[in-house]
């Protein structure tokens, strides 16, 4: 008889795929069409997205290669093996702080956008607080639960975004997407720089590695997981430009949200598709935020082995909330987000590459 599949605290390859995809899809879906259109001024942004996406997928592959070299070990453990313990501790501490800032930003953005489109009267602080309470509840349990939750959310998210696309097919005008191939290389590259930010998040694998039970497939499924957001971003971008035109895409704060508002079902029976869209979107951000919080906790507990997970939750939560509330307005939040994105490039792309190169040079492998 087959043993009970989900009884252990391990996750399989499906969870890796969904976890990566869910972590990456987040805030970016809403703003990406604008930032890319701003850089390229034409439909050629799809080249930027593909370019940016493929380069990030390359780095995600590097990261997956690194962690599959050390099965069942987290960042702290394998860095100790590759370099030495003090440096591993410093790196893990910095990584944990970065993840913590990432949650702050994520939470703040959820609150801001929910306030703009959904809760006109509710103060940002309250929206943020409620969202955070749910996140805290999620991370109080074991990590595998959060990872498995992704598998549950994934089909719903994909379904809603595809529904958004399908319902806008009628408004799509091929004419508005022309002319093709008119953007210079500098524009394309600037566009792909913007894209890279929207593809970050897969660095959580550095810690989730300790739960993955099939290390052989990690590289393959990480890349598959990363291609889901790439395809979604391409579709959404092409549709935003095809429906609204580049000029509108450039000048609307959240073009994808406007796409959701554009949906009109004949008969006037169902006009507010955006409410469904936003609900699902908040769900993706919830899973992103809870994974980030979970990884922060995993990172801290890997350094301070004696302190309990719950103790960290109690001490970190107020700190996270205060940092999340400290930007005063939209502009400050954006700057905050930009800095975090730069940190993210460092931690998710360059650090793993460096570690992999050192590990290969020294010939260090997990399990000895």
């Amino acid at each position: 008889m087959k043993s009970f599949e989900y009884g252990d605290s391990e996750v399989g390859r499906k969870e890796v795929l969904a976890g990566v995809a869910n972590m990456v899809i987040g805030f970016g879906v809403l703003t990406l069409p604008r930032t890319v259109a701003n850089a390229t001024h034409s439909i050629d942004g799809w080249i930027s997205i593909s370019l940016g996406g493929l380069s990030v997928i390359f780095f995600a592959g590097v990261l997956a290669k690194l962690i599959s070299r050390f099965p069942k070990k987290n960042l702290h453990e394998f860095t100790s093996l590759i370099i030495n313990k003090p440096i591993a501790t410093i790196l893990t501490f910095l990584f944990a702080s970065y993840m913590m800032l990432f949650i702050c930003y994520e939470m703040r953005v959820v609150a801001e956008i929910s306030k703009l489109y959904l809760f006109d009267q509710t103060p940002t602080e309250v929206i943020c607080f409620v969202f955070f309470l749910v996140t805290i509840y999620a991370v109080s349990g074991p990590s595998t639960v959060i990872l498995r939750l992704n598998l549950l959310f994934m089909p719903i998210i994909l379904f809603i975004i595809f529904l958004l696309i399908v319902m806008n097919i009628g408004f799509f005008e091929f004419k508005t997407t022309k002319p093709f191939f008119q953007t210079g290389w500098s524009g394309i590259l600037r566009g792909s720089k913007e894209t890279i930010f929207s593809f970050l998040g897969f660095e959580t694998l550095l810690f989730y590695n300790s739960f993955i039970n099939a290390p052989k497939n990690t590289v393959k499924f990480t890349i598959m997981g990363m291609s889901i957001p790439l395809l979604l971003y391409l579709l959404v971008f092409v549709f935003v430009v095809g429906v609204f035109g580049v000029e509108v895409a450039e000048n609307t704060l959240y073009p994808t949200a406007e796409l959701a508002k554009r949906v009109e079902i004949p008969g006037g029976f169902f006009e507010r598709f955006e409410s469904v869209f936003f609900t699902i979107w908040v769900v993706t951000l919830f899973s992103t935020a809870s994974m980030a919080f979970d990884v922060t906790l995993l990172a801290f507990t890997s350094i301070f082995k004696k302190i309990k997970r719950m103790t960290f939750i109690f001490f970190l939560s107020p700190l996270i909330y205060i940092i999340a509330m400290s930007p005063q307005n939209f502009a400050e939040t954006s700057i905050f987000g930009e800095w975090i994105s730069y940190l993210g490039i460092g931690f998710s792309m360059f650090m793993p590459l460096l570690l992999l190169v050192i590990a290969m040079m020294r010939g260090v492998k997990g399990n000895g």
Binding site: Q121, P179, G245, E247
Partner: protein
């Protein structure tokens, strides 16, 4: 005992913790389905007091049409009553207020009505001709594009005369003026003498692209509304610079390929023929060898039926059919050439979307002429637009000949 205490506590929490900050009772919401914006007449009121800069500026008069749900079902059709009050049985209520910004006026209205204006369901925005001619279109549109409640699908129209009057018409077949006008604008495909509906999102994109554009025009006569012709806006400052009448709009629709159905009439041997157009396609080609005289060729392909025929023409004859085809083509050419002439000579504003065509197909040339396309140097008015029409008669109807 401890368990009991705890369950009571949890039960209480259920009521204390749940709730909604943004709670809005549906009965307390005033659903706005249409808006009309006019200019307030200049008041030369020298009160002598200190006036802030804003108060010196132009003021708008905003009218919202609210739904009165109670009267919507079972109420009388609302015909024959005029004025803006919520008279007995009328399913709508028009409120008007004045102010310097649309947002402020909307707030003011909330103070005047028991139901807070809720804009999510606005279907129609009417701007007065005066406001459009003064170039305030872009200013008043800002609120509607910016506001999170608004959806981009609200239709935009320019009224002849006062915009408020449009919301006060007595509609036939429909209970509310706004819904009536909406269905009118959907019927336009039947005659193509006005534009297909232009919505707020379209206007936003016109303003951002900075091109000339046209908006359907609504005319109120004897308390009845009709959508006739179009208002032209220029590209420099988005001011309304003129209007197109019905046949000119039809010509323009032929060029932009938006004709779904139309009935041109002409004479053959002194007898009237009405040709029913079932579909028309237009294709633009351009010769860009000389940017000072770009040559556009607009090829229009028309399919249709013989709709009505007076006199004793026999349609079994192939030569008669080709004569009908030829005459129809001539008639369409006449209509289109007239509107091209008028636009190029008088208004010099590219409302045919020829600039967009250049951008899409001849990007290099477009970059050269882009800045001064229909302003300054005005390459648009210097260009040559040649129309070629090809007509195919598909069906002649059920009769060959009516009289002997």
């Amino acid at each position: 005992m401890d368990k009991l205490c705890r369950s009571i506590w949890i039960f209480c929490l259920l009521f204390l913790v749940t709730g909604c900050w943004d709670q809005n009772e549906i009965e307390e919401r005033g659903f706005v389905i249409g808006a009309a914006i006019d200019m307030v007449e200049e008041q030369t009121d020298d009160s002598g007091g200190e006036m802030s800069e804003i108060e010196l500026g132009d003021k708008y008069k905003l009218t919202y049409q609210f739904v009165v749900p109670g009267n919507f079902i079972g109420g009388s059709s609302g015909g024959g009553q005029s004025g803006g009050g919520a008279l007995e049985g009328k399913p709508f209520l028009n409120l008007t207020a004045e102010g310097a910004s649309i947002h402020q006026i909307t707030r003011k209205m909330a103070a005047e009505t028991s139901r807070k204006p809720y804009l999510e369901h606005i279907n129609l925005i009417v701007l007065s001709e005066e406001l459009s001619r003064k170039g305030h279109l872009r200013d008043v549109m800002d609120f509607f594009v910016r506001d999170h409640e608004m959806r981009r699908v609200a239709k935009v129209m320019v009224s002849e005369g006062e915009a408020r009057k449009v919301l006060e018409i007595s509609p036939q077949h429909e209970k509310m003026p706004v819904l009536f006008i909406e269905s009118l604008s959907e019927n336009i495909v039947k005659h193509s003498t006005s534009l297909p509906p232009i919505n707020m999102g379209d206007v936003h994109s016109y303003l951002l692209k900075g091109n000339s554009f046209i908006i359907p025009r609504i005319v109120v006569k004897n308390n009845k509304g009709a959508i006739l012709g179009a208002a032209i806006f220029n590209s420099q400052d988005q001011k309304m610079i003129g209007t197109l009448n019905e046949s000119e709009t039809l010509g323009l629709n032929f060029i932009t390929g938006k004709v779904k159905s139309a009935v041109p009439e002409f004479l053959i041997n002194g007898q009237l023929v009405a040709f029913e157009i079932k579909g028309a396609e237009s294709k633009i080609e351009a010769d860009v060898s000389d940017k000072n005289q770009i040559k556009f060729t607009v090829k229009i392909n028309v399919d249709g039926n013989v709709g009505e025929l007076y006199g004793d023409l026999a349609l079994e004859n192939r030569s008669v059919l080709s004569e009908i085809e030829e005459k129809t083509a001539k008639e369409i050419e006449r209509i289109t050439n007239r509107v091209i002439d008028k636009i190029q000579k008088k208004y010099k504003a590219d409302v045919f979307e020829l600039g967009a065509y250049l951008k899409q197909e001849h990007y290099k040339t477009w970059q050269q002429v882009n800045k001064e396309w229909d302003k300054g140097e005005n390459y648009f008015s210097k260009s040559v637009v040649d129309v070629q029409v090809r007509v195919d008669v598909r069906q002649i109807g059920a009769s060959i000949k009516m009289v002997k």
